[in-house]
């Protein structure tokens, strides 16, 4: 199917469309990458470490950085006061009464929020100083669930905003109410999509320098765009756009949208440089990245379809709530509006209603993550399509067949404004069915079920948008607000092609690639235009805002490269070729249209011997400009700006064509669920793509495989977990389960190309499809596998063995009578599970003796494990210095302990909380003393919370650790009480009571 560059017949075939190897690779496989941390820095460059909030929500009462400044090698510490003096809050996509500064100023609102920056001679020394900074926090209640955040009386993250809902928009297209009223069926689904991220292996890197002589800032970073955010950064820094220079190195270790979130740290490091009066470098570490860089939005969706008797969907109704974390950080609420025009997906549905609410809660701010809104929409929509099939007793494939936009309808204007440029959805679905041998798969499922095994088949069909219309974010505004603000639209791509004095061709683009092979594809594009070998073309992707051509849409996101960027390169090359053709026509005495550029030569068609070498022709323009055709400007450098014509601003009816091109993906898979373990095994996976014209099929397949692996991760493994108090629990790659090669099968990939009429090369983006299609395809297959056993299910991702086992819900054998007390009720599965520890310890002492120990500070200090000092701090309250050591881990806590609800001698409440460099911990519970022969049975029943770094990196063992600490505590209590000192228990008790009177 694809061109084989080795075969003689294909040697003259165009470069574009070849599955050729990459120009990037020789450097990368020999360890000569140029990633941001590989670049040399100026002498005198210092290193930054960020102090981050251990609390999900707290008032920031004060910071004392002086102990840090006294540390070895520390040059400066940047705090919120500096940030307020030198910068402004970040602007966001929607005006909301909140301030988001580069550092927390009055409150911290998510675990990991930057609070201060230490700038030191190296990162090791900077981290040493972090521990010395004293911060006065007053914790506030945290909200971590969408339902809780939007409920009346919820703690407000930004009191001035009056609500945690910062945007609430309703949309209506066609006549959805009537469609629902008249429909034969209404089918409903609740969908919840979790927080996750595509976590590139390289984290963020920023090198920033304040240049006081120019009042300017200079940044080198692996920020990926969109460079609309350059405006956000410049405004925050209070400089004009040309006084912030931003450069991106040649190589970036993966982005998948995630490195959009580098932008606030770029601002932060600019300010750090200003404070330190030196360039500053920051290299993000993995814990920082997972905790505080970014996330996809978590979304709750109620979705309904009005369906006629034959299974045609007449209307859709969405009620969507995105939580965007603690601040509305640009470009949010873009996760909603990127997809808005194509909420009807691949289907011909005329009537649509949608309500989009954006909620804040105490988690990391969200942003671009590959798929960006698509995973959230399609998880709901494609699960709904399957539910329609079940409810109407139709085949899920048939439901899609009846509802797809038909080939003859393209370009198709969807209800909410997407102009689907081209496609043949039925044919692509048939491609997938053939490649999957669907009949055989159905037979396999039947045999498995007959044998009592759980086998399911699932599919998903998605429209993959690419080349974002930069105006789509204004759909979040009302038409009146838009009219006032002025229109935003377009997706300007820019490229420059230049030929030097020796005939060497150089291409520059405003793209910031992170592994997609842009250098190779650009070289293929330009090689075809000039008839050169791609190896002869140099492509410079080291984007520089001061030297390169660029505009609002610059950067590498929304899969814009193939359609827009490569298209702009093509246009620039054509412009330059037209100029060369004029020159050559004069030289060769022919018409410009007769000229051919091939094999490194330029000649008139039919007279290849009478041409000129490319380098000689181009040399003329440099060495002898006087010989150029009259009126022609000298120089060989052309810049093309391109924006797809179909990208208008949202109209007065809120219709928006949010993307310029729309690919199509149909996935079909078979899965088997192991009944013993709940593990989902992918038995067969076919993914069929139509991304318009493929510029390099090898790279296209690479994008599909990578997106598929991330889709499997989202479906079965990955989730950012938070505790009920907002503590983050997925801070390492042990906790956040990025799949290894053993979890990722090799999908079968099939292609069909229906070129886009709206991009210069007919190409569409192909980078995000499987992030959108794979999670619902797998979920549908799992639902199919479980349906015979448990019926219709609302499934939540990721479908870990734990979740699947819970769905299987099989009754387990009862315990033997002697172990009946181990049959505890299950803790709730929704939401964060508080650490609970309860148990009993038998003590050879009376309840009074036990109480006496608890109420006597000297004894209490011996009871608390690792307690070095216990000071009274009020009636029955104490301050304590407690070191907790479990295994290799040791943390020293400044603790407060309080006894209350004392009901001698039966019960009391014992609460403790503490903070350490590793985070906070608290425990609160009741002790009940049961008098028995021989002493006391002490019952304890506790809830504990552990936050900070220990929670972020040790969540696997938090339950066990909390239980162990409490068990040690109460064992110790038992030993203290039973090894009674000289005073009898009653004597000590009277003394205590006497003190109280």
């Amino acid at each position: 199917m694809h061109v084989n560059p080795e075969s003689p017949a294909d040697r003259d075939a165009p470069q574009l469309g070849r599955a050729r190897t990459r120009l990037e690779d020789a450097a990368l496989v020999t360890g000569r990458g140029q990633f941001a941390d590989d670049l040399g820095v100026k002498p005198g460059t210092l290193h930054a470490a960020i102090l981050r909030s251990p609390h999900a929500h707290a008032e920031l009462r004060g910071i004392d950085a002086s102990p840090a400044l006294a540390c070895r090698g520390v040059r400066a510490v940047l705090t919120g006061a500096d940030v307020q003096r030198w910068s402004q809050p970040f602007v966001a996509g929607v005006k909301a009464s909140m301030q988001h500064w580069a550092l927390a100023v009055d409150r911290v609102r998510y675990v990991g929020e930057p609070v201060a920056v230490v700038i030191a001679e190296n990162r090791y020394l900077a981290e040493d100083a972090l521990d010395q900074i004293v911060v006065d926090y007053a914790p506030l209640p945290a909200v971590v669930e969408i339902d809780a955040a939007i409920a009346d009386g919820a703690p407000l993250l930004h009191p001035a905003a009056g609500s945690n809902i910062v945007s609430d928009r309703r949309f209506r297209y066609g006549d959805p109410e009537r469609a629902f009223a008249e429909a034969a069926h209404t089918v409903r689904l609740s969908a919840r999509y979790p927080r996750n991220s595509c976590t590139p292996i390289e984290c963020g890197v920023v090198i920033a320098e304040y240049q006081p002589a120019d009042g300017a800032y200079d940044v080198v970073s692996n920020f990926m765009g969109p460079f609309s955010l350059h405006a956000v950064m410049a405004l925050a820094l209070k400089v004009a756009g040309n006084r912030l220079r931003h450069r991106v190195p040649r190589d970036s270790g993966g982005s998948f949208g995630v490195k959009q979130s580098v932008f606030p740290v770029a601002v932060l490091m600019c300010l750090a440089s200003r404070k330190a009066a030196a360039p500053v470098k920051w290299v993000e570490d993995r814990v920082e990245h997972l905790t505080a860089a970014t996330s996809a939005t978590a979304r709750n969706t109620e979705i309904e379809a009005a369906v006629d008797a034959s299974g045609r969907v007449l209307a859709l109704r969405y009620d969507q709530i995105d939580e965007v974390g603690a601040y509305l950080r640009a470009p949010e609420p873009a996760t909603f509006y990127r997809m808005h025009g194509s909420l009807t997906g691949a289907y011909d549905i005329a009537h649509l209603a949608a309500r989009n609410r954006v909620a804040l809660l105490n988690k990391t701010p969200t942003g671009l993550v590959r798929g960006f809104g698509g995973p959230q929409v399609y998880f709901a929509l494609e699960r709904l399509m399957d539910r329609i099939a079940t409810q109407l007793s139709l085949d899920p494939i048939e439901v899609r067949r009846r509802n797809f936009v038909r080939r003859e309808q393209f370009p198709y204007l969807a209800a909410a404004g997407a102009l689907l440029d081209s496609g043949d959805y039925h044919a692509v679905m048939d491609d997938a069915i053939a490649a999957a041998s669907l009949d055989e798969l159905i037979g396999r499922r039947a045999r498995a079920r007959a044998a009592g095994r759980l086998y399911g088949i699932g599919c998903a069909s998605i429209v993959e948008p690419s080349i974002s219309n930069m105006g789509y974010i204004t759909t979040a505004l009302t038409p009146e607000q838009r009219a006032k603000a002025g229109p935003k639209n377009g997706a300007i791509a820019a490229a420059t092609v230049a030929i030097d004095l020796l005939g060497g061709v150089t291409v520059t683009i405003a793209s910031a690639p992170a592994g997609q092979g842009h250098m190779t594809v650009c070289a293929q594009v330009v090689a075809d235009v000039f008839g050169l070998a791609p190896e002869a073309i140099v492509v410079n992707v080291e984007f520089d805002t001061q030297k390169d051509a660029w505009s609002v849409a610059a950067g590498n996101y929304s899969s814009r490269f193939a359609g827009a960027v490569a298209g702009a390169v093509h246009l620039a090359a054509l412009q330059l070729r037209a100029k060369l053709a004029q020159i050559a026509a004069t030289q060769l005495k022919c018409a410009p249209q007769e000229l051919r550029f091939s094999g490194g030569r330029v000649f008139a068609a039919g007279a290849p011997d009478k041409g000129q070498a490319f380098a000689r022709l181009t040399g003329l323009a440099h060495w002898s400009p006087a010989l150029l055709p009259s009126g022609m400007a000298p120089g060989l450098r052309e810049t093309a700006f391109f924006t797809p014509e179909t990208l208008a601003a949202p109209d007065a009816q809120d219709r928006v064509n949010a993307s310029a091109a729309y690919g199509f993906v149909f996935d079909l898979c078979g899965v088997e669920i192991d009944r013993d373990t709940g593990r989902v095994r992918i038995d067969r996976y076919v993914t069929a793509h139509d991304a318009g014209r493929l510029l390099n099929p090898a790279l296209a397949d690479g994008q599909i495989r990578g997106g598929f692996a991330q889709g499997v991760g989202a479906a079965l493994y990955e989730e950012f977990r938070y505790a009920a108090d907002g503590s983050f629990q997925s801070g390492t790659f042990a906790d956040y389960a990025v799949p290894t090669c053993c979890e990722i099968p090799d999908p079968v990939i099939v292609h069909r190309e229906t070129p886009s009429p709206f991009t210069p090369l007919g190409a569409k983006g192909i980078g995000e499809g499987n992030n959108m299609s794979t999670p619902p395809a797998i979920a549908n297959a799992v639902a199919d596998a479980l349906r015979p056993l448990v019926g219709e299910l609302d499934l939540e991702l990721p479908l870990t063995p734990a979740r699947v086992l819970a769905h299987l819900g099989e009754k387990e054998p009862a315990p033997p009578a002697s172990l009946a007390h181990f049959a505890r009720p299950a803790t709730k599965s929704r939401g964060a599970v508080a650490l609970q520890a309860s148990g009993q310890v038998d003590i050879e002492a009376t309840p009074e003796a036990v109480f006496a120990v608890l109420l006597d500070p000297a004894s209490l200090a011996r009871v608390i494990p690792g307690c070095a000092a216990l000071e009274p701090d009020g009636p029955n309250r104490y301050r304590a210095d407690v070191t907790v050591g479990i295994g290799l881990v040791k943390a020293r806590y400044a603790a407060q302990i309080a006894l209350s609800e004392v009901d001698l001698p039966q019960s009391l409440r014992l609460a403790g909380s503490g903070s350490s460099a590793l985070g906070s911990a608290s425990g609160d519970g009741r002790l009940r003393l049961e008098r028995r022969a021989g002493g006391t049975r002490l019952h304890y029943d506790y809830e504990a919370q552990v936050g900070g770094r220990i929670a972020a990196v040790g969540s696997r063992m938090l339950e066990g650790a909390a239980r162990r600490v409490l068990a040690e505590l109460f064992d110790s209590l038992g030993r203290q009480a039973s090894g009674a000192a000289r005073l009898t228990a009653w004597q000590r008790l009277w003394r205590w009571l006497g003190l109280r009177r």
């Binding site: 981290e127 570490d285 993995r286 063995p801 734990a802 049959a823 299950a826 479990i886």
Partner: protein, 281 residues
């Protein structure tokens, strides 16, 4: 994430290690493979004053047969034992379990003794040692003592080793006559910590089943040869007896289920092969 500062002592032999620990056990950590300790230090979850590195101690790399035991010293890597040609015959359960441990690149450097000393409740090696009834030799300046596995693991990440003691070697009983072995575990991803791990050793007189990942230490149960519903009942009783708890990774009920199902699979595997079960999950 960079570690806090520490002094580094690079020992040349076991005597030097023991001397370095004398009187300073609370402040000094032993650096063997570093695959657990270095991650903890990089995360600043601990800040010891000094590390004593035993990777340069040739005498501590020794692995040898000693009467009825395979003796593995403190600096012997997991890989060196895994690649031992005779291992399948010497300690079949160890040969079966090692491929489940993390990843080959970790086993290249991680030590057998280090994993035992760390006593992670979900780790494979403590489970193997407990199931086989092995022992550890602890040495300090004053002398050595031998502790049986059942007494050595005292809780989550907790052992009988005193801070000033070096876990000098671990002793695995050699394969018993006519004894068959199997090992299996269930984890979210290939190489992850086990949610439940099962080790089985069975001969004519006894069926041993060891469970890891559920209680705070490996649990060994010894039964007569059981089969059919008697085996199911025993596995059910075993599953309940572990006092499993709900946690973020799996419910208690889920863990009990894995104990029953994987326990059955492991026993079947031991009985169906000549000695070792391959990976089953």
């Amino acid at each position: 994430m960079k570690p806090a500062a520490f002094d580094l002592l690079r020992a040349g032999n076991a005597d030097e290690v023991v001397e370095a620990l004398r009187g300073r056990g609370d402040e000094v950590r032993i650096l063997a493979g570093g695959q657990s300790l270095m991650a903890v230090l990089n995360l600043r979850l601990a800040q010891p004053r000094a590390l004593v590195d035993l990777t340069g101690c040739a005498d501590l790399r020794e692995v040898r047969k000693d009467r009825a035991m395979l003796v593995v010293h403190a600096a012997a890597t997991q890989a060196s034992v895994e690649r031992r040609k005779e291992l399948r015959g010497e300690v079949p359960l160890l040969a079966a379990a090692l491929p489940w441990m993390s990843h080959p690149q970790i086993r290249s450097r991680g030590t057998i003794c280090g994993s035992i000393a760390h006593a992670d409740p979900a780790a494979e090696l403590p489970l193997v040692l407990a199931t086989l009834g092995g022992e550890v030799v602890l040495r300090r300046a004053r002398g050595r003592r031998t502790v049986a596995a059942t007494d050595f693991f005292t809780g989550m990440l907790s052992t009988a080793r005193r801070p000033d003691e070096l876990l000098e070697c671990v002793r695995f009983p050699l394969a018993g006559a006519d004894t068959r072995y199997a090992f299996t575990e269930f984890a979210l991803r290939h190489g992850d910590f086990a949610l439940v791990a099962i080790a089985v050793a069975e001969n004519a007189g006894e069926l041993r089943i060891g469970v890891g990942g559920v209680a705070d230490r490996p649990v060994l149960r010894r039964y007569p040869r059981l089969d059919g519903s008697a085996l199911d009942d025993a596995l059910n009783e075993l599953a309940w007896s572990l006092d499993a708890r709900d946690d973020a990774n799996l419910s208690a009920q889920g863990r009990r289920r894995l104990v029953r199902r994987l326990g059955r699979r492991a026993v079947n595997a031991a009985r169906e092969t000549t000695g070792i079960a391959g990976r089953t999950a």
